[in-house]
Subunit: 294 residues, 2 copies
């Protein structure tokens, strides 16, 4: 078994982004890539993610700005602000931290970000471009993009392989399945309406499994065949009295049993998570390069 | 084996659309649903389809108008015309007959049709809404919509079933797979990069097969299991000296052998084809009702 070390791969990629920015700045000192994060309210998990993203920006030489609104902000005010940011040529990427409070239409807000600055890749236009065979998306959502990068880094063949994606969210499962299919895989999505028999059947025939359902031990060694490649997107907290916080982060996959059967597997933490964060930087720098035409 | 008689189902639906228009007009004499078809050039197959659609419109009480451009028309002129039609409140649906000549960007043209008038459902916004779990599309492309209607008409259970869609086009395979998944099926798309082993494996385990690849005998009785439901979207012409035209229309499925094993199967012709045409009317009438707020 080979561990797919997302932490190491992301560190490597982060360094190469940093180097690239440094190189561009040498010949173009006016190159100032900038990300604006819009946060509404004070959810502690959101604040943690925002802090991580801003820290990563700083490390590589991207200017990160946080625009915070209190949770009572009106939808119209938010849309107007996004339009201002869309028009602001000094801003290359806009990231609206989800989830938003219930009175705000997430779909509307997500679609108010200009496609070229949509570093999350969640806008309808980017989604349509992922979905349509004839189209090439400007931005790919960070988690699926990070997973593709890991698979390529580990030289996992995709074309002609049988892939099962567990979960069909708009952020991970849906685009992931489509992107793997575009790369030539034959893909089945299993989801909450799949029967236990379907789950068992498809998992047991998969060459590659991407699990993004958010359930502890959703994939166990009994479900999979020897040699499978497993990507674990799950982020589940389980009680753990040995930890100061009282809990511990685990994925969807029973890592200890599956690692014996898998040819390659990502751990949680240290697998998909760090890749997602660095892909924000990657999308941002691609957006900035397009803007400057570098 | 039950034959799924698309011709009969579409005739029934056409009649109910006609009745509905008649009823609405009784209380709202100003209700004048109107479809504009834009055709560029003189492809004989396109002309046939356009003629069929206009004839169907007339039969049910929809005004159909054909706007013909010669094949040298400029892209900008076409886009400008579409914008005029978008703004014309007397027009409820706009259908650009595809394919367009090579010098015209089909994606651009398709996206120039306002979402609410996009009776083909090919625009990026409609596609994104099909793709995203959180969204409800205004319009569903006519072929997948017609297939769902047939399956429901025949009381074929979708949720929990194992479905294989053959082909991943933007017009049929892609949206079909997603719509069946949204209805709770577990779906695998097989496509040109799937291996013969993958094709055999997935077809042989499917409860429902939708074939839209355009290859004669792509699905044979050896590929499928007893009781399968088969929907044949293929339109292939094979030489036939007994026909005046010298050829005959067949689907992707070896009907004669498969009909012995299938529980339900669509014929070609007389299956999916007539459903696709009537769904143009259905999308148009839905669009007109939205416009008039009926």
């Amino acid at each position: 078994m080979t561990l797919i070390n997302g932490k190491a791969i992301s560190t490597e990629l982060r360094q190469s982004i940093k180097d690239e920015i440094f190189e561009i700045k040498k010949s173009h000192p006016d190159f100032l890539p900038k990300l604006v994060i819009v946060q509404v309210g004070e959810r502690p998990d959101s604040s943690t993610y925002v802090r991580m993203k801003l820290k990563s920006c700083k490390e590589v030489g991207i200017e990160g700005e946080l625009l915070k609104f209190n949770s009572e902000v009106g939808q119209d005010e938010l849309v107007e602000k996004l339009h201002q940011l869309n028009d602001d040529t000094s801003v290359h990427g806009i990231l609206v931290q989800l989830p938003l409070p219930g009175h705000i239409d997430e779909e509307l807000i997500t679609n108010s970000v200009k496609q070229s600055k949509d570093v999350d890749g969640f806008s309808q236009l980017n989604m349509a471009a992922i979905f349509k065979r004839s189209a090439v998306p400007l931005q790919i959502p960070c988690t699926p993009k990070g997973i593709l990068f890991m698979l390529d880094h580990e030289k996992v063949q995709i074309q002609g392989r049988t892939v099962v994606v567990c979960g069909r969210s708009d952020i991970v499962g849906g685009p992931m399945a489509k992107l793997l299919e575009k790369r030539g895989a034959t893909v089945t999505i299993i989801h909450s309406k799949s029967t236990p028999e379907q789950k068992r059947f498809f998992l047991s025939h998969a060459d590659i499994i991407v699990s993004a359902v958010g359930r502890v031990n959703f994939v166990t060694a009994d479900d999979v065949r020897p040699g499978v490649v497993i990507i674990d997107v799950g982020t589940n907290f389980v009680p753990d009295s040995t930890k100061k916080s009282g809990h511990r982060l685990v994925g969807d996959v029973d890592f200890d049993s599956c690692k014996e059967k898998a040819s390659k597997i990502t751990p949680v933490p240290g697998g998909v998570g760090p890749m997602t964060v660095v892909m924000v930087l990657h999308n941002l720098i691609e957006a900035a390069k397009r803007e400057y035409s570098y």
